[in-house]
Structure formats: structure tokens, C-alpha cells
């Protein structure tokens, strides 16, 4: 079973229904016990970095999530679920993240491009995480965000996307796979990613 971590940020229904559609068992939960029992976890969410961290703390999920990641449990981070893996974000001053990966979260520079970066953009793979094995390099995925991650180490970077700047749109390190884009909103290819994560979890378990 995969736990979709509910920490009060945005709509988790699409992620849950996406897994259901591709026949992967997943459950929306905010219970630490469920998260510990699960074979894999998904942290979706859109919104503000600081609120996300605050909610995880308030619900006593911060340690649970960190511990599961450290233990090597398969983790899929989506949007904020990617961003909070890093050390800090410059959104609303500086907010601390989980620090699982080194680097920070920065805002798109003002250079005449519309912010948020909203819509379909391509992802160029620098390496291919297991759920992406059947997906063509340069495929389109759906994005909606104003901040992006800037890793200080190259190693975890798995995908790059261009929007004024070239930014990291996907990371992969061992059990951690995280995307800036939304597989649950990316139609056929997005569903394939969710199915692929389901397989990844099964192989890992």
C-alpha cells in the first residue's frame, strides 16, 4: 500500500484517483502509523513552502516522513513534495526544509516571463528513474509553480526544464524520486509515472 500524505495542502483527490485508475493501491492519510506501515509514500501538494512545513510539523508528520525517507522507503514527491526535500526556501524570507538533499528553493527571476510558470513544458532526462523508463525523453508534463529547486550537487538531478532559466524539474536519489511537475495532471504520461512508481514500490518492498 502507498500512503498519500495528507497535510492539509491542496487537493489530493487527483493523486488518489490517478493511482486507482492504474490499479495501484493508495490511501490518503495523515496518520503517522499508516505512513510507517506503507510500502511507499507520496507527498503531493501545491501552495506555499512555509505553510507546507508548518502543517507537517503541526500534524507531527515531519519526523515520520523524514524517518521513512532515511529508512529507504520509496518516496514520490510532487511539486512541494520536491521542494521540501531541500535545505531551505527563499519564499517569505527563509524557511527551512527537510534537508534530505543539498540546495535551496528560489524564485523565477523577473525577466518578462509570466509567473507562475503554468502549463505544459518538456522534461529532458539527465538520468531515468524507474517510473520513467517507458517515457520518452523530452515529453511534456504539467507545471504550476513560481519557485524551483536549485540543488548544490549535480548527482540527484534527473530532469531539466527551460523557462527563462534551465531549472531542475526532477530528482532521483536511491529511494527518492521527486518532480516539480504534476503527474496526476499530466494525462496519459502522468498516469504512466504513477503506475511506474507503483511498480518501483513493489520491487522495493
Amino acid at each position: 500500500m502507498i500512503a498519500i500524505v495528507d497535510y492539509g495542502m491542496g487537493n489530493l483527490r487527483s493523486v488518489e484517483k490517478g493511482f486507482l485508475k492504474v490499479g495501484v493501491e493508495a490511501k490518503v492519510t495523515s496518520s503517522p502509523a499508516d505512513i510507517e506501515d506503507a510500502e511507499g509514500l507520496v507527498l503531493p501538494g501545491v501552495g506555499a513552502f512555509r505553510d507546507c512545513m508548518a502543517n507537517l510539523k503541526r500534524l507531527d508528520l515531519l519526523d515520520t516522513v523524514s524517518r521513512q525517507i532515511e529508512k529507504g522507503k520509496p518516496y514520490l514527491g510532487i511539486c512541494l513534495g520536491l521542494q521540501i526535500l531541500f535545505e531551505e526556501s527563499e519564499e517569505f524570507g527563509t524557511s527551512k526544509g527537510l534537508g534530505v538533499l543539498r540546495g535551496k528553493v528560489v524564485r523565477f527571476p523577473e525577466q518578462g516571463l509570466k509567473i507562475p510558470h503554468m502549463g505544459w513544458n518538456t522534461v529532458r532526462f539527465t538520468k531515468v528513474p524507474p517510473p520513467f523508463e517507458e517515457i520518452g525523453d523530452g515529453s511534456y508534463f504539467y507545471f504550476v509553480h513560481s519557485y524551483y529547486v536549485s540543488p548544490s550537487e549535480k548527482d540527484p538531478v534527473a530532469g531539466m526544464t527551460g523557462y527563462g532559466v534551465e531549472f531542475t524539474s526532477m530528482v532521483w536519489k536511491d529511494n527518492i524520486i521527486a518532480t516539480q511537475f504534476h503527474p496526476e495532471k499530466s494525462q496519459t504520461l502522468g498516469l504512466r509515472v504513477l503506475r511506474g512508481f507503483g511498480d518501483f514500490v513493489k520491487r522495493y518492498a
Binding site: 487537493n11 484517483k17 502549463g119 517507458e134 507545471f143 513560481s146 495532471k185 494525462q187
Partner: protein, 295 residues
């Protein structure tokens, strides 16, 4: 590179698609979910439901429509029409929609957009701007009831946002109530103000072009798109392939929306995307069930 988006819009009343037409691929033309599935397969980049349900009691029906759509269709979904409270927004987001589009309530109370953006995030707050060119035929100044209270009560906002009826420059005025009520607000300045309040996107409809099939209002679209830092969806007037090209190039729009044109299959989304792609506009290719690029 970020692709320009093509967005079909479905008018939904009491949970049914208005003016449903039966085509081979659709079992029930009045079912919004069936229509959504069709557009999904066609390569739509997003989907908009415009809820035109008149009676308050039947408003909840749209939540069921959104839920059923989100069970089957995995692309961004926006719902507009009749949104008057933060609870309305919360209910829609929980049902599975990604963005809400707000027009009349924003004009009645601009602070509402600020509150909504703060609570749910700018990315899900779309402000719908219905704009009409100010012409000499509108020589009478707006009636008192047309100007919102907050605008009459604030000298500063009045100076900043009111339509300057004396001006010789091309101007557009904000309308509400489905284009029936002029509000004395300058559409370009309004879009900027809404961005400041926290709107994440502007859905711009030209009341002059809407329904004419004579093309989007390019000067209006360009003016607004260049005046704000958030994405702009052009709407109203799509009649042929060239119109989409104009809106997304000369008009500087980030996305183009059409309702009846797609609804009656006068054009398909696939045709629009192929045409744009051949002319160098970046669009997302239509992806088939097998995941292969069909474009």
C-alpha cells in the same frame, strides 16, 4: 519550452452540458464527463466548466460533476460561475478541480481575491475579465448602480481604476453578469489590480468578439497580456485556425479558449494544434493511449 495551451470550455447547467450534440465518440452528449473524456483524448491542455446553473439550490450539482470528471480525466480543470464564498472555492477544490474562475464576486469585492489567494494559493485563483470596447455609443456615463460601492467610496481606487470616458485611447470596460452589466472599471487597470490582489491567471473574454466567430480581440488581448505578469487566456471570437494563431502570437496570449467551436466540432483541438505547430507555435503534441506522440 512552455507550450501555448488550447482550452475547451463546456457550459454546464444543472449538471448537463448545454447544447449537447451527439457525435459518434460520445454516448451521452449532455454528460460533462463524457465530453471531458472526449477532449482529453483530443489533446486538450486543460478543461473549463462554466456553471450557468441559475437556481441556488442546484449549485451543488457541479460538485458531483467535478468529482466524476476528476475520477476519469487527469488534466487541469477550472470551474467558473457562481463562486461567491471561500467555502465555494474549498468545496470545488476538494471535489477535484484545480482552479476556480471568478468574475462577478471579484468586482463586487476585490478583497475577496486577496483572501482567496492567501488561503488557497494564487495558482488556483483565476480572475475572469469580461471586457467590452468603450465606444462613442456608450456616451452616457455609467449609472450609479453600475459602479461598485468600493469604487465610489475610494477616491484613490476611483482615480486608479475608473474608465476615463474622455480619453481618445482605445479603452475596454469591465462587464459582469454574463456581459449584461457595465461596471465603469477599466479592464486593463483591473487586470493589473487583480494581479496585485493575488490572482494567478486572467481569463479574458471580449464581449464584442464573443459569439461572432470573427476572431479574438487582438488589441485587447495584447494590451492586457503585456500589462500583467501572470498568464492570460484569450477567449471569445474563435472562428478559424488563423484566429488561434493570432491570439497566441500577435495577441501575446498564453492560452486560447473556445466553447462552441470545439463543441460542434467545427474544429478539433488536434487540427488547431497541428496548424499552430506547422507555423512554429510551440504546442504540446496530442499523445495517444499508447503514449506515442501522434503529432
Amino acid at each position: 519550452m512552455l507550450a501555448k495551451r488550447i482550452i475547451p470550455c463546456l457550459d454546464v447547467r444543472d449538471g448537463r452540458v448545454v447544447k449537447g450534440v451527439n457525435f459518434v465518440n460520445i454516448r451521452d452528449a449532455g454528460d460533462p464527463v463524457e465530453n471531458a473524456i472526449y477532449y482529453d483524448a483530443e489533446g486538450a491542455d486543460e478543461l473549463v466548466f462554466l456553471d450557468i446553473t441559475a437556481s441556488h439550490e442546484k449549485r451543488k450539482i457541479i460538485l458531483d460533476v467535478v468529482e466524476r470528471t476528476a475520477d476519469d480525466v487527469f488534466m487541469p480543470l477550472t470551474v467558473g460561475g457562481g463562486i461567491g464564498s471561500l467555502d465555494d472555492i474549498r468545496d470545488l477544490l476538494n471535489a477535484g478541480c484545480d482552479k476556480v474562475s471568478i468574475n462577478t464576486t471579484a468586482v463586487r469585492d476585490p478583497e475577496f481575491i486577496g483572501k482567496a489567494a492567501q488561503r488557497f494559493g494564487s495558482q488556483c485563483i483565476v480572475v475572469a475579465v469580461d471586457a467590452k470596447r468603450v465606444t462613442s455609443s456608450r456616451f452616457e456615463l455609467p449609472l450609479p448602480g453600475e459602479i461598485p460601492d468600493w469604487l465610489r467610496e475610494s477616491k484613490e481606487l476611483e482615480e486608479r481604476l475608473s474608465v476615463d470616458f474622455e480619453s481618445d485611447e482605445p479603452l475596454w470596460e469591465v462587464y459582469t453578469h454574463g456581459g449584461r452589466r457595465p461596471r465603469g472599471i477599466d479592464a486593463v487597470k483591473w487586470a493589473q489590480y487583480m494581479e496585485e490582489m493575488g490572482a494567478g491567471e486572467i481569463l479574458l473574454t471580449s464581449m464584442d468578439a464573443d459569439g461572432t466567430k470573427a476572431g479574438f480581440d487582438i488589441p485587447l488581448t495584447r494590451m492586457i497580456s503585456e500589462s500583467v505578469g501572470i498568464p492570460v487566456i484569450a477567449s471569445g471570437g474563435a472562428g478559424n485556425l488563423e484566429h488561434f494563431f493570432e491570439a497566441l502570437t500577435e495577441g501575446r496570449a498564453d492560452a486560447a479558449l473556445a466553447a462552441s467551436l470545439f463543441h460542434y466540432r467545427e474544429l478539433t483541438i488536434r487540427e488547431v494544434k497541428e496548424f499552430l505547430s506547422e507555423r512554429g507555435v510551440v504546442v504540446r503534441p496530442v499523445v495517444g493511449e499508447d503514449g506515442k506522440d501522434q503529432g
